[in-house]
């Protein structure tokens, strides 16, 4: 029993380190038309200190922005999301931009990003996957 008290949290802590690797800022452009917008969004996200590991994916008609928030800033998660959303609405009024800080959305985006980099996805497949992620994000309730 006593041994477990020390080993268990240690195991969990070390396991946590292996899980959440750093990604850094990443961009994925499925359709070339949005390239400039993605760069603008990426620059903006780079400037905000609360965020790290951002992934921006541009599909045919939608742009998905997912990010991770620094630990102490997680108290202001809703505020940060609102801020980014407002900024994108003002910057691109006629473009649908989905913003999410959810870990699942980030994970799926990262998977899509990696398989896109590998070159194992066609444009249609990537678009389909992006649509799936956005549906997942929207039925959070």
């Amino acid at each position: 029993m006593k041994k477990w008290i020390y080993t268990f949290p240690l195991m969990m802590l070390l396991g946590g380190c292996a899980m959440f690797e750093k990604v850094g800022p990443s961009e994925l452009i499925i359709h070339d038309t949005h390239e400039e917008k993605v760069h603008i969004i990426n620059e903006k996200l780079q400037k905000s200190e609360e965020l790290y590991d951002t992934i921006i994916i541009a599909g045919e008609d939608k742009i998905l922005v997912s990010y991770k928030v620094h630990h102490m800033n997680r108290f202001h998660m809703k505020k940060i999301e609102k801020k980014i959303k407002k900024w994108t609405e003002e910057e691109f009024p006629d473009q649908e931009v989905d913003v999410s800080s959810d870990y699942k959305i980030f994970l799926e985006s990262y998977n899509l990003f990696q398989s896109w980099e590998d070159g194992s996805l066609s444009i249609e497949e990537a678009q389909k996957k992006l649509d799936k992620i956005i549906t997942l994000k929207n039925d959070l309730t």
Binding site: I5, F8, P9, M12, G15, M19, I105, L140
Partner: protein
Amino acid sequence: MAKQTASEKSYQSLVNAHDRKRPVLINCIKAFLVGGCICIIGQAVTVFYITFFSFTEQTAGNPSVATMIFFAMFLTGFGVYDRLGQFAGAGSAVPVTGFGNAVISAAIEHKTEGFVLGVGGNMFKLAGSVIIFGVFAAFVLATIKTLLSYFGVVN
């Protein structure tokens, strides 16, 4: 407190002299550590659901809670959770696993009285009040929120 008579006072001082002091700080630390460990397991279960199933951070809460209660029920049946409870006190009772423990330990305790009047009737002896007050509190909060958003105070 009511006024004590002389004999009550002398008895109280006698009790105080022989009573063992409660190690409050140590108990708190134990409860903190064990409760924290239970929460680490809960977080691991949540991450498991997020990674391998199509749950998002917000929806993964429900299946994780159910799984944690299930684990606690199993451990209670095997007699592990009781020992943990003796060691950690509130640290094992306050997290949602304490709910599973309360259900199953009551069921085991009243098994000898038969399935209907014993197990069925007493299973929710303690857990029943958790459910009742939980549902009632949720109802009151939802009513307040609905009224506030109806009158436009919050959105």
